[in-house]
Amino acid sequence: MLGKLLKYEIKATSRVFLPLYLVLIVFAVVNSFMNFNPDDFSTSQFITLTLYIFILVGMFVASFIVMIQRFYTNLLSEEGYLMFTLPVESWKHIVSKLITSVMWIVLSCLIALLSILIIASQGINLSEFFESLRMIWDTAYSYFGASLYHFIVQIIVGFIVAMVSGILLIYVSIAIGHLSNNHKKLLSIGAFIGIYIVGQIISAILFIGNDGYGLTYRITQQSPFPFALVWEAIGISAIFAVIYFIITNIILNRRLNLE
């Protein structure tokens, strides 16, 4: 059933993202044909570049809006009558929306990178570009040694955990807002700010420590790179995510009150 939910969630959201990706790539290609020369910047170049940047920013704004809108409209407005009477556990609704959001954010990042490469491909020599990438890799390798792979895994996992935690923070805020009869949006925003501040305070205590010897201190004391401690930091973020998830699920199960 989770697979089916995912299928429809991706269908519902791809209507927004696929055209955006296409337009972004088209504009990147158009830009790549405008030979950029910093000394001679024509109006048409300026316009196409500006449009490209608008679309690029718009793509990330859309990811954010769609994330909120799918959770609120599909689950907590009238469409909720359909979704919550499907023979599916409520946690699967949360997970299907979460996975879909993560997927679009990651894809948006990749498409953004691709579009930048397309624009740059005109001005730079691609083989030189890849050569310099290799040099960066070599430098990093000489610093980290074999644990460079560990470092990369840590960056990717850290990025995904931070993203999941952020998305679930938004979900739990919307779910808490749903508990209000008359001021759902206001309470959602209040919940978001409140939880965010509490999260920051708890993080600050853990990272700085009341004696100043918290995670941050310990991380900076180690060399070449304190993997275990960074995992600890990622773990803390994951614990926040789990708490947000559980609260959201409890509200959807026990306190659902569709209008």
Binding site: K4, Y81, T85
Partner: protein, 232 residues
Amino acid sequence: MNAILECNNIKKSFGSKHALTGIDLKVERGRIVGLLGPNGSGKTTLIKLANALLVPTSGEILIDGKKPGVETKKVVSYLPEKTYLNNWMSIQQIIEFFSDFYSDFNSEKAYDMLKRLNLDPKEKLKNLSKGNKEKVQLILVMSREAQLYLLDEPIGGVDPAARDYILETIISNYNENATVIISTHLISDIEKILDDVVFIKDGGIILTSTVDNIRDEKGKSVDALFREVFKC
């Protein structure tokens, strides 16, 4: 066999407002039941509880002996009073959606009914009029071969001609072991298809009876009795 729906002293409050004040009810299989009461009497709350869209404050509600959840949702076909259709699918796509999620959904039946009501399967849901949206929802709900149909105000928004077809659809589309519960305040329109009635007022049940009993013992139509009981 368990009763298809059983409520044991169900209470539901929203803050200080008491929507249901202690409902005891047992509905057997193979019946068409009218859940009748004025606006705000608790009909929708009761139906939402049976669909796990709300959780009772106290008491117990059982469907086929089970608490509302994933298992009961497989056998309950629910028509809410709200329009839940999204704005991006076509009729065809939502039929596919239903047959994906409900193993008891009969697509053939759905397409037959669409044809009867002159609805084009390729039409986008967002382009349908309010009445046609209600028809599509009813078709979706009645195309399932469920054990319990919970219809909340199924005929409120459609014209009288479609109303007759819809009622006919309801009685001809459920098997004899299934139960249909219809909540409404438009009694005269549905009286002729009902087996039993439940009168609900201010969150409590004030009368349960078969329609035959009302006619024989009180010598009245359900509509006339309703007007008498709920006189303002």
